[in-house]
Symmetry: C2
Subunit: 410 residues, 2 copies
């Protein structure tokens, strides 16, 4: 059989909602040699990663560590560890990733109550709170920023209500952490999950999460009741259905006792550590400002071209911009030409929005002036090739104006 070719990876400008570009310093850290999982040098990297994660997630929670898997692995770990068969779970869904929460909760055996709102909108917090009072669920699970519709749900009022009503509040903040403020403790979020491949700007493959004592009590209770039950049938009804995603075992592995569970993903952890370090070196507030600035420049450019945005402007997710595909234009053909001629990637969309919007990400290391200007220039050229009637030459100028008048933008 023929020998396989050496890996060849072309350079891309990645302007999607993830995976996004990675700072070369993160990749450099990831090329460090392997350490054993119980090597004191490695366990100290584990401990330091927990410290950095708490700062990035704005929490005082003791537990803050990555699950070794992509974002949805973290979501599943959180939900399957908290939810027991028959538990009521309320999921207000405003996009595809609310659908993912729903599917995972159903597979956990939950009694799931889903409410939907029109794609492009978010929920009025008081409406969610009404539902909470009516349904009285054990858990309210919600997406913070849903990349499928480019909307961001305000969470603070809902978090306060959950705490008052003694409902566990779980938030998927995969698309927002490190790109826009996510205040875990202030918003009274009990369990929060994020992913590496978006604004953390680390390769896909880890799902950092955090949870407080309210969730830890559920884990401990399940474990102790399970141990106390005599019959296997009752025991298994309370047992977390997964070994890999059992947060009570994961926290034992991340604690000083280091009870053996999986073998921590060495190189990915190096990347996460370095990615978090760079976020804190930049400063959270400065990082959010950078994200806002580049978003504003992108939006100004897109609009100056004559294109319009999708969705309720007030609740726009700052890290994803949804652009309406002009009537009669083949969106995938535009994306393909952008990739083939300019090596720029933007995203298509899901479900009912497919063919109707492009989604342009401004996340993490991809979120920089050079990328925004190149994307606008490339998109304009490709649209002209597709014979779309746009205001030629104005997009990049509008973006440059934003960069030159930063105070206007932020």
């Amino acid at each position: 059989m023929e020998p396989a070719n050496q890996l060849h990876v072309p350079i891309r400008t990645i302007m999607t909602p993830g995976p996004v570009e990675v700072d070369p310093r993160v990749l450099q850290a990831m090329s460090s040699s392997i350490l054993g999982q119980f090597d004191p040098n490695f366990t100290s990297i584990m401990n330091e990663t927990m410290v950095l994660l708490r700062r990035v997630l704005e929490t005082e929670n003791h537990w803050a560590f990555p699950v070794d898997g992509t974002s949805r692995a973290g979501i599943e770990a959180m939900l399957c560890s908290v939810i027991e068969e028959g538990d009521k779970v309320l999921i207000p869904s405003f996009g595809r990733f609310g659908g993912l929460l729903t599917e995972i909760a159903e597979r956990c055996g939950a009694d799931v109550y889903v409410t939907h709102c029109e794609w492009g909108q978010v929920f009025e917090p008081q409406d969610v709170i009404k539902q909470l009072k009516k349904i009285q669920p054990k858990v309210l699970a919600m997406v913070h920023g849903d990349t499928s519709t480019g909307r961001m749900q305000p969470l603070e009022e809902i978090g306060n209500a959950c705490r008052e009503l003694d409902v566990i509040f779980v938030v998927d903040a995969v698309a927002t952490v490190a790109g826009t403020p996510v205040k875990t403790d202030e918003w009274k979020i009990d369990g929060l999950i994020t992913g590496t491949q978006k604004c953390l700007s680390v390769p896909a493959g880890m799902a950092p999460l955090t949870y407080n004592h309210r969730i830890e009590e559920i884990l401990q209770e399940r474990k102790s009741i399970e141990r106390g039950l005599n019959s296997e049938k009752h025991r298994s009804s309370r047992r977390i259905r997964s070994n890999y995603f059992d947060l009570s075992q994961l926290q034992d592995y991340w604690s000083p006792t280091r009870l053996n569970h999986h073998t921590e993903a060495t190189t990915m952890l190096y990347g996460l550590y370095e990615g978090l370090r760079l976020i804190l070196e930049e400063g959270l507030e400065q990082r959010f400002q950078r994200h806002r600035l580049n978003e504003k420049a992108l939006v100004a450019g897109v609009q100056a071209m004559g294109l319009s945005l999708f969705g309720n402007e007030q609740w726009k997710l700052p890290t994803v911009t949804c652009v309406r595909i002009p009537e009669g234009v083949d969106g995938d053909s535009v994306r393909a030409m952008l990739l083939n001629e300019f090596a720029i990637e933007i995203a298509s969309s899901f479900g009912s929005l497919h063919g109707k919007i492009w989604r342009i990400g401004t996340m993490g290391y991809s979120c920089q002036k050079r990328n925004v200007l190149l994307t606008l220039a490339g998109l304009e050229a490709v649209l002209i090739r597709h014979k779309v009637n746009i205001h030629s030459g104005e997009a990049v100028q509008a973006a440059l104006d934003v960069y030159q008048n930063k105070s206007l933008a932020v």
Copy 2:
């Protein structure tokens, strides 16, 4: 708050059963820039990885891809996709990782039948076949090489019996693939799981697996029955309990339709591709010979020192050598001195063997002459410091003899 320190990783000689050292060419490949998951350049790396995996796993199965998680993530994906509530599963267990199979199968809701054999032994295939006939399980799940006891179970006879009796044969080959022959098709294994951090010599974080049409039929049947059922209760009783580990969804993502599931772990996949490529460049048979040669040299050295091995010699796992800790010696103190003074890591052990044996791995890129000689020299020096009465100066000589008379060793 103080800025975090830049990542600092010291160089180690890692002689454990994993994670092991990684070829610098793999780390180089992993420093390639990010590609979008639907970028044609990325999907072609996914396709080529499947081709390489089939060759390394010695199978013609269509499905051969990694699960994004550490080894046990692959085991759980296989078991939870195949096992339904109440299914009979037989697990002959000869070490700790048989225990892991048991725990996962129980959490899947299986009716689990476990048989044990003394640690240090393996099962007589005919005894397993008798059990098979008596219990008539849906699934027989077994470990190939159990690193906890350093034993390797012969599988071919058992595989033939499973096929005849129409039992699904699932094998955890985490510790053996690419270090010693694992003949998926020839041994009639229906589902096989491995991990990256052992003889594949890629960082921990992926669990490559393969399965044949017999397992695929189970997946398709569960999916179609689930869709046909009206009541949510019946539907959920057949449904795979995990979204992340649902092999029917994973195979759709790895098929040309590319149905969106998770975001494939970009950088880890680069590493897996390159690791597999280097295995095939070396050649499977040559690689197995290298593993045998270094194992023989290590064993010769250990025995020349006057130390003895644990377990039934006939079924020794070639990639792990279990060494009895001499009476009265603190095994962890020896390991700590070896790490602190020589930067060499060997492993302790689990359960009833803790404090009784050391486990020395000869796996993947760690499995090389330099490492074996250094480990013997280091271990000898440390044992002398611990006032153990050994045959000083003979270990390295015995190993060198093996290297110089290769024909004797292999």
